[in-house]
Each structure stands twice: as C-alpha cells, then as structure tokens.
C-alpha cells in the first residue's frame, strides 16, 4: 500500500506544479507515461529473452555477441530497424499504409489503460473496463485489414483476411471464457474482479474448476488473438509471405512487432487480473511488496509460458486452427459458462467443486474423444503414396 500512496503523492505534487488549465493534461500524461515506457522497455527485454530461451530450447546459445551475454542485442536490433529503408509500394494507399501499424499499436496500448496495477493504480478507472478492453482489442482486426488492403498486394490482402478470420474466430472463446469470471464477481470493472481475489492464492479464480478451464481456454485464445505460435499463421515467415506485413519494412515493420508484443503483454496482464489475482500477492503477508511487482511477475510468467509454447509446438494449418476454434474452444467455453452457473447456484463448496469439476472434465473427455474419432483426425491415408503399389 505504501508504494501506491507514494506514487499518488508524487503525482499529486507534480500536477499541482503545473498551471491550472494544463492540470488534466499533465495528470493524464503522468498516468500514461509509466505504462508506455514500462511496456516499451519490456518489449526490448522480452525480445531478447525470447531469443535466448528459444535458443536454449533448441540446444544452442541465443544471441550473445552484443555486450555481455548479448544484453544489448535489442539496442542493435533497434538501430538496425531504424536505419533500414522504409519502402512503400507505389500504388499503395499511403495514408492508410502509414496508419495501420500505428492503429495496431494504439489499440494494444489502450487495452493496458484499464488494467489495475494496484488498488488505486489504474490509468482509467472504468466501470466496464473489460468491455473496453475487448472493444479496443477488436479494433486490432481493423488495423490488420488496413495493412493488408492499403498495401495493394494480393498476398498482403489474403494474409490479412486469414489473420482476421483467425482473430474473429478466437475472440468468441476468448470473451466467453472471461465471462465466467464476470458472472462470479458480478461486475465488469477489473478493479472489482481483482478485489474479489484478494485472499491469497486460494482465492484466485485459477483454483476453481471453472476458473482453471477458463484460464486455459483464455490463454489458448490469447495465443491465437496475438498471433503467437502455434497460431502464428498470419505471419508465418517460413511458408507465407509475412501475411499482412508483406509490404512493410524498416521501422513500420518493427512497430507491428512492438504492437504484437504489447498486445501479448496486455492479454497476459488481463489473464493475470482475471484468473491469477492481479496485483495481489500469493500470500496476504507478502502484500508488503508493491502490487505492480506481483502483476509484472505474473505477466512475465505467462510470457515465459508463451515462449515455451513457441519453442515446443509446430504451427497449425489454417483449417486445423479454425476447426480447433469452432469445434473445441467454443463448445468448451460454453460448457464452462454452464458450469460456472452451476457453481453460482450451488454457492461453491465441495458439492460445487465436484459437480462443476465433473461437468468440465467430462465435457473435455467427451469432446476430445469425439474430435479424435472425427474422420479429419484419423491417420491420413494417401491413395497412391500408401497404396498397394508402394506398400509392396
């Protein structure tokens, strides 16, 4: 608590120093600056961390040439990206081509404004914070389409449509799996969602049957929503022509990546807020350590999980990705809603645990068995390659 009081006091004194008319502006700037700088810096750290970790997963060192242990690699990358030539196609819609990466970055950054970093550390105290978050998150699709359309390149356009199809499909399970938290807390405000999980690790929503499933569904949808591996078909470098980023180069390309990473941080922060107790410490005693530290710790753990997943899984084919969204994610999130309703009706407790746990686990087993038996998922037989001629 002391940390928040300190920050608030500093901000108040700084705002009072400004002239009367400028005070709202200064106040807004002081609220947004830390978020912008912190997540911009985190982007640099995470790019390096990701490359290092992927390297270790693949039995090699990551970047280790620039500075001790390669810690200045992001600086070198930044210089490289800034000095690269910025090429815009002659027939492109220049204005929209220029705006697309910015819109993507702004939508990603806006999501962070409603995340509570402490009891009073919210940039915008919003009654319907989570609705705002998903609303601006939905604008990311617009930015992707702007990029694809303004490039005037059929590969960019196709890539952007593929990306939009994926993002729209995964937005449904994403939102449905977060709705269960809102059902239990009875509020759309993220600060209240965090308040409901204030009693240490046992009161986190992750450790309830519906919260556990919801968290996993939310994380998977997040992966698809921010185009992370294994759902990174929109910008699959190795098989597609970089999707909607085909006609981008230099710093605009870097801004796309920045936006992607910031969106990932925002999503991870939201996951931590909804299911992992937000800025609360695992034990109430540890609350002496400031809330932002806990939130960033949880956020980093989730980012590490994402990197780990990226280092493990191969990319999904576009049709597999769609099938997974509509045939597994959507039914599971709807079932999770039902079991959350049962949980609320039973008012938790052992009975609630058993019933909702059985409901979710049974649904998972049944769905996965049904999907595994589906003709699409049986071992493929190639008529000629596996046929009697070649088998002999």
């Amino acid at each position: 608590m002391w940390f928040e009081e300190l920050l608030i006091a500093i901000k108040a004194s700084l705002v009072l120093k400004a002239p009367e008319g400028l005070r709202p502006l200064v106040s807004a700037a002081l609220s947004t600056m830390p978020i912008l700088s912190a997540f911009g810096g985190l982007f640099a750290v995470v790019t390096l961390l990701e490359r290092k970790m992927l390297g270790r997963i693949q039995n090699r060192y990551g970047p280790n040439r620039v500075g001790p242990f390669g810690i200045f690699q992001p600086v070198a990358d930044g210089i490289k990206m800034l000095t690269k030539e910025d090429i815009v196609p002659k027939t492109a819609d220049h204005l929209i081509h220029f705006l697309a990466p910015l819109v993507l970055l702004v939508t990603a950054m806006l999501g962070l404004s409603v995340i509570p970093f402490g009891q009073k550390l919210v940039a915008v105290e919003f009654e319907a914070g989570i609705v705002f978050f998903f609303a601006v998150g939905g604008a990311a699709e617009l930015a992707v389409f702007m990029a694809g359309w303004a490039s005037r390149n059929k590969y960019a356009l196709l890539g952007s449509l593929r990306a939009i199809a994926q993002m729209v499909s995964y937005e449904i399970p994403l939102i449905l799996s977060s709705v269960c938290v809102l059902m239990v807390t009875g509020s759309l405000s993220l600060t209240e969602v965090v308040q409901a999980q204030s009693g240490g690790i046992t009161s986190w929503f992750l450790f309830t049957p519906w919260g556990f499933l919801g968290c996993i569904l939310f994380l998977i949808s997040t992966l698809a929503e921010v185009n992370r591996s294994p759902f990174d078909i929109p910008e699959a470098e190795s098989e597609l022509i970089a999707g909607h980023m085909t006609e981008y180069s230099g710093f605009k390309y870097a801004v796309f990546f920045l936006a992607e990473f910031v969106a990932m941080f925002a999503m991870c922060a939201l996951t931590a807020t909804l299911f992992l107790g937000g800025y609360h410490a695992p034990l109430p005693v540890l609350n002496i350590i400031p809330g932002p530290v806990w939130l960033f710790g949880k956020l980093m753990l989730l980012v590490l999980l994402f990197i780990w997943i990226r280092g493990t899984m191969p990319r999904l084919r576009a049709d597999q990705l769609m099938e997974f969204a509509w045939k597994f994610m959507l039914p599971m999130s709807v079932i999770n809603l039902v079991s959350t309703g049962i949980w609320i009706a039973l008012d938790g407790g052992l009975l609630g645990w058993l019933v909702t746990g059985a409901c979710n686990f049974g649904a998972y087993l049944g769905l996965s068995r049904w999907l595994a038996d589906h003709p699409n998922h049986r071992k493929r037989v190639y008529r000629y390659a596996d046929g009697p001629i070649n088998a002999a």
């Binding site: 280790n64 493990t312 899984m313 998972y364």
Partner: protein
C-alpha cells in the same frame, strides 16, 4: 485425449532448456572464434613448403624443379628460379626458388603437387583462416608465407611427416653409400693407377739399370 502430446512435448523442451545450462550433451555449440574444435589429423586444404632447420632460406627443400607448377590443374603455382646455386641437404648444388607463389583463391586443394614433388618439399597444410580484406593480393601467398618448418609439419600431420623424414633419411643414406662407393671406386682407381704407374715404372727402372749396367 487432446493435450497429452502437447504436455509431453513441453516436458521435452523444458528438459532441453534446463539441460542446456549444465549438460554438455544438450548444448553442443562451439563458439568458433574463441573456441575451436581440435583439427583431425587428416584435415588438409592448401599446400605449403617445408624447410629443415630454423632458416627458411637455407633449409628450404624446394629446388624449383617446377614439376608442381606444370602439374597443377588450375595453375595456381608460380615459380621463378634463383640465379645462384646453393647446396641442398645432400650437399648437391641446386637452384632454390626466388619466388614461389600459390594463389589460394585458385587452388582447389587436389594435392597433385604433393604427389608429384620428388623432393618432399611441398605438403598439405590445414590452416583455413585465410580471410583477407584484399581478395587478389591478400590470397596470393608468397614464399615467406608458404615456408613453414618441418616442426610445424610434424605438429599437424605427425604420421605423414615421420614417413617423409624416413624417405629423406633413406635418400641421405643412399647418397652417402653412393658417395662412399664412389670414393672407394675412386680410391681403388687411384690405387690401380698408382700400381700401374709403378708397374710401368718398374720395367723402365730395369731398363735404366740395364742401361746402366
């Protein structure tokens, strides 16, 4: 069940991640400029000139017979004979090369020059760090760059160097034996000549004595 394979894969990558910090099996990278894998004995790429002793001028085995120059398929060797003769390891007077250049940007490492050299002078090296700022002059190796001591040859290709030394020792022995035989023959011839002269002299003596008597 969906997800089982994913968990299995995640465990595998986690093992890699943790193992890369302590298990050399899981982190096999050799960071090249700082660390190097010790070269294999059979490694060879470009030719060099062997010299005996410490001085590359006097000890150079090459006698500029120019066989390698003629045999070289890509013609990357250029030799110019010296104008004065110097004694080689057998004491014979030979022309040493004044210039001996190998263009390693042209050399294909076929080792034919090594095969044809009758003086065990040109041998294969295993040095590979030839990167240069100037790809024309920088990659044209001159005599002073090519000449390397026999000790170096022993350090890179010990077995081959020992065989070469044996060949040379045999040559020296042969030469010594030949010299000895020659000397003996010469001595014998001298002796014979002396005896003949004596013999020839003796009758004259008789004659003279006869005359005297």
């Amino acid at each position: 069940m969906i997800g089982k394979g994913i968990l299995k894969g995640m465990m595998e990558t986690a093992k890699n991640l943790a193992g890369s910090f302590h298990d050399p099996e899981r982190l096999t990278t050799v960071e090249y400029p700082e660390q190097k894998i010790p070269a294999k004995e059979n490694a060879r790429n470009f030719p060099f000139l062997v010299y005996d002793g410490d001085d590359c001028e006097t000890g150079l085995r090459c006698v500029s017979c120019q066989i390698c120059e003629k045999e070289c398929p890509p013609q990357c060797i250029y030799i110019e004979k010296d104008t004065v003769k110097k004694p080689d390891f057998l004491g014979k007077m030979q022309f040493q090369p004044k210039t001996f250049d190998i263009d390693v940007s042209v050399c294909m490492g076929c080792q034919i020059c090594v095969e044809v050299c009758p003086f065990e002078s040109i041998r294969m090296d295993r040095d590979f760090e030839y990167a240069q700022g100037d790809r024309f002059e920088g990659l044209l190796l001159h005599k002073d760059q090519l000449a390397k001591p026999n000790k170096y040859y022993h350090s890179i290709h010990p077995t081959e160097a020992r065989e070469t030394d044996d060949i040379r020792e045999g040559k020296r022995q042969d030469h010594l034996a030949k010299e000895k035989a020659k000397a003996e023959k010469l001595a014998k011839a001298k002796e014979e000549a002396a005896a003949k002269a004596k013999e020839a002299q003796a009758p004259t003596d008789v004659d003279s004595s006869e005359k005297a008597s």
